[in-house]
């Protein structure tokens, strides 16, 4: 494995790409705890309209994640004294295992679920029933509705404006067959990274991973989702929704230029800045927070999300006086470049 180091951080990691395309990353760690991650480079952002002539319903990626890290899988991991969790975003899906026992067996168990397509239509239907209230919330919850409305204001056509979690109505169209097609295309060794952390040597890790059964690459035929998006302006500047909620909420969205243009103009380091941008400008910017506090507003959340060519930053705030908050945000955001101080960034 090739050793990498993050400068002076004393945090080396090792990386190797296997012949089957599987990428392996190992982070040595002197600890009783051993952790493993299966990272799939495909999230909830819908890239495909059809795979192998089958339509891929909205929300399929989320369902697929839950079918792999199902209650059944979690219970099997629990019997191995291992904690299993999963997470999906627009651009990736992660399956995590943490254990004081054998992390490689735990990773293999999850890989087996992928290799054997260990779910069927009954499992999908049961998941729909068990989580009916969650899916209902996606269309009924006022807070979610305002966020979706803000994204619809930002984008004309991009699929990112719909999020990736299905509503109850959308979940009806999701079936095991389409999930299996999505899995066949994306849950393959060439689209996968396995990360291991624990008290091992790089040689031990790579030997163990090479012994594992991993899902191979399969040829699929797909029809990509196509859309036209104008990145020079937003769809609508504002919109007011009258919804039953305990307090007034305002969302402010920033639509970034397309990723390709950002890469061409600023290079790869541009994307590194995403790690800190919401912190330095909003969540840990004392001037911004003090200003909000002075006008009796609370910052409920900030999220930076990206999928496909699209990236947005969404701020959610609570306020009784939307005009005062609106004026404050206009003032603050009109000179964002002046809001950045080098010491804050270094911090």
């Amino acid at each position: 494995m090739i050793k990498n180091d993050l400068g002076h951080l004393n945090c080396p990691f090792y990386e190797q790409k296997l012949e089957n395309g599987l990428n392996v990353i190992f982070v040595p760690r002197k600890s009783e705890l051993k952790s493993g991650v299966i990272y799939i480079a495909q999230g909830g952002y819908p890239h495909d309209e059809e795979i192998n002539s089958s339509k891929i319903p909205f929300g399929s990626a989320y369902f697929l994640e839950k079918m792999i890290m199902s209650y059944k899988t979690k219970n099997e991991l629990k019997a191995m004294k291992t904690n299993g969790t999963s997470h999906i975003d627009f651009s990736y899906t992660c399956f995590n295992v943490d254990t004081l026992g054998d992390v490689f067996s735990a990773i293999q168990l999850v890989l087996n679920k992928i290799c054997t397509l260990d779910f069927n239509e009954d499992d999908v239907e049961k998941f729909k029933q068990d989580n009916a209230s969650f899916f209902q919330k996606q269309s009924d919850d006022p807070l979610i509705q305002t966020k979706k409305a803000c994204l619809n204001n930002l984008y004309f056509n991009s699929p990112i404006r719909n999020g990736f979690l299905p509503t109850k109505e959308q979940s009806v169209f999701i079936h095991a067959s389409s999930l299996k097609k999505l899995l066949t295309k994306y849950y393959a060794s060439n689209n996968m990274t396995i990360m291991i952390s624990g008290d091992f040597t790089p040689g031990e890790v790579i030997a163990k991973i090479k012994e594992m059964k991993v899902p191979g690459k399969t040829t699929t035929y797909s029809k990509a989702v196509s859309y036209q998006e104008d990145y020079s302006k937003v769809n609508h500047y504002n919109k007011t929704l009258h919804l039953p909620y305990n307090y007034n909420v305002m969302n402010l969205g920033f639509k970034f230029p397309e990723r390709k243009k950002l890469y061409d103009d600023y290079g790869i380091m541009m994307f590194e800045s995403y790690e800190i941008i919401s912190k330095v400008l909003f969540t840990e910017n004392l001037n911004f927070l003090k200003g909000l506090h002075d006008i009796k507003c609370d910052l409920l959340g900030v999220s930076l999300s990206q999928g496909g060519e699209d990236t947005y930053l969404l701020l959610t705030m609570k306020s009784d006086d939307k005009n005062t908050l609106g004026n404050y945000l206009t003032d603050y955001c009109s000179r964002l470049d002046k809001r950045l101080r080098m010491p804050t960034i270094k911090e």
């Binding site: 004393n10 009783e32 705890l33 904690n83 911090e347």
Partner: protein, 384 residues
């Protein structure tokens, strides 16, 4: 008196945490003042250093106040990132402790507007506690770490001067305790902090909480709390066995709830002292009050803790909790504070021997119910 351990050396969390707890007699301080002081220190801490605490290894200081051993505790926590390769020119940990000390000495800096804002925030936080039947019951029982009932009128009347006087009382307290979690260093990490005459070892041993069942219109769920006399806790392994036993007991009770009333439940367990434990069960909706007689008379008869599946499930859950202990520093701090409270050593902190089914059965057989309390929904009006 048993020796209390103050150092838990580990590099697993990449963090360095110092917990400072100061004990105050309930006759000497008003809890409303203490509760507000914690919020003021969280919002506007005062210290002499020109740089922010967050500039020293991402330092954060947090404060809280709670019941403890028949009195109150004022707690401060200093949390910093631990990675020596990040810092070249200064010692951020020394600076962090200096600021932490300053906050205990100098208190808060805020104008009247900030003072009122702190009151609003603290009260809003308390109202959440008040609406939670389990936490409300804990507070009325004055179980360790619970927030007792706050008189809202009294709270609104707390003045700036009251808080300054309280700060003096905290400074002059002679009973205090420290906990350090982090990587071992050449110098004692607690050396720069003031010493206390007495530690916490004598405070909890004889204290037993008491309260009555009650109802409130503020609740949306209901709570049932059992106080059990248990076999004396002597080692940290005894606590682990107790955790599994109470989990099995809860699961058995939960099954009875679900079978008879189709009600979902959750629970928490508190070690009150070496011989007493509280098991708090929260039930959704108002099925508990609607079927009070059933719960008081028949519930115990339907509980079956001698179920192999339940025992196996709880042992698996326990194994997972050991994994979580190595992931989350907050869980390690919680465990370490409990061990400190009971005067038990940290020797086997991360290497607890496996809990066995026989030990659990023996522990369960030793549970003797002392008291049973409910916090239920009151229809029509508030009784507070």
């Amino acid at each position: 008196m048993s020796q209390i351990e103050n150092y838990l050396y580990t590099s697993d969390y990449g963090q360095r945490i110092i917990v400072r707890r100061v004990f105050l007699k309930s006759s000497d301080v008003v809890f409303e003042n203490l509760y507000l002081l914690a919020e003021l220190l969280n919002m506007a801490p005062c210290y002499t250093d020109k740089k922010l605490l967050s500039e020293y290894a991402d330092g954060k200081a947090t404060f809280k106040a709670y019941c403890y051993g028949g009195g109150y505790v004022f707690e401060g926590r200093l949390c910093q990132t631990q990675n020596k390769n990040l810092f070249f020119f200064n010692n951020p940990y020394k600076k962090g402790i200096s600021i932490f000390n300053d906050i205990f000495e100098l208190g808060f800096k805020t104008d009247e507007k900030g003072f009122l804002a702190a009151k609003e925030r603290a009260l809003a936080n308390y109202l959440l506690v008040k609406k939670d039947p389990s936490k409300n019951l804990e507070g009325r029982m004055e179980i360790n770490y619970a927030i007792p009932n706050i008189d809202e009128k009294l709270f609104n009347e707390v003045t700036y001067d009251d808080e300054k006087l309280l700060l003096k009382a905290i400074k002059s307290s002679t009973v205090g305790e420290y906990l350090f979690l982090g990587e071992k260093s050449k110098k004692d990490p607690l050396a720069l902090l003031p010493k206390y005459q007495d530690d916490f070892s004598s405070l909890t041993s004889s204290y037993l909480p008491s309260s009555k069942s009650f109802s409130s219109a503020d609740f949306s769920s209901e709570a049932l709390t059992y106080l059990f006399k248990i076999k004396e806790i002597k080692t940290s392994h005894d606590i682990e066995v107790l955790k599994v036993s109470s989990d099995i007991l809860f699961k058995a009770i939960s099954l009875s709830f679900m079978k008879s009333l189709s009600t979902k439940t959750s629970y928490s367990m508190h070690v009150v002292n070496k011989e007493t434990m509280a098991l708090e069960i929260v039930a959704e909706g108002s099925r508990l009050s609607e079927n009070q007689s059933y719960f008081l008379n028949d519930l115990e008869k339907t509980i079956n803790t001698n179920n192999a599946d339940l025992i196996s499930s709880s042992l698996n859950d326990y194994a997972l909790s050991q994994v979580e202990l190595t992931i989350h520093s907050s869980k390690a701090i919680e465990k370490a504070l409990l061990l400190q409270d009971l005067g038990i050593s940290f020797e086997s902190f991360f290497k607890e021997p496996d809990v066995k089914a026989e030990e659990v059965k023996e522990s369960l057989a030793g549970f003797k119910e002392i008291n049973k309390l409910t916090a239920t929904i009151l229809r029509g009006k508030t009784n507070d």
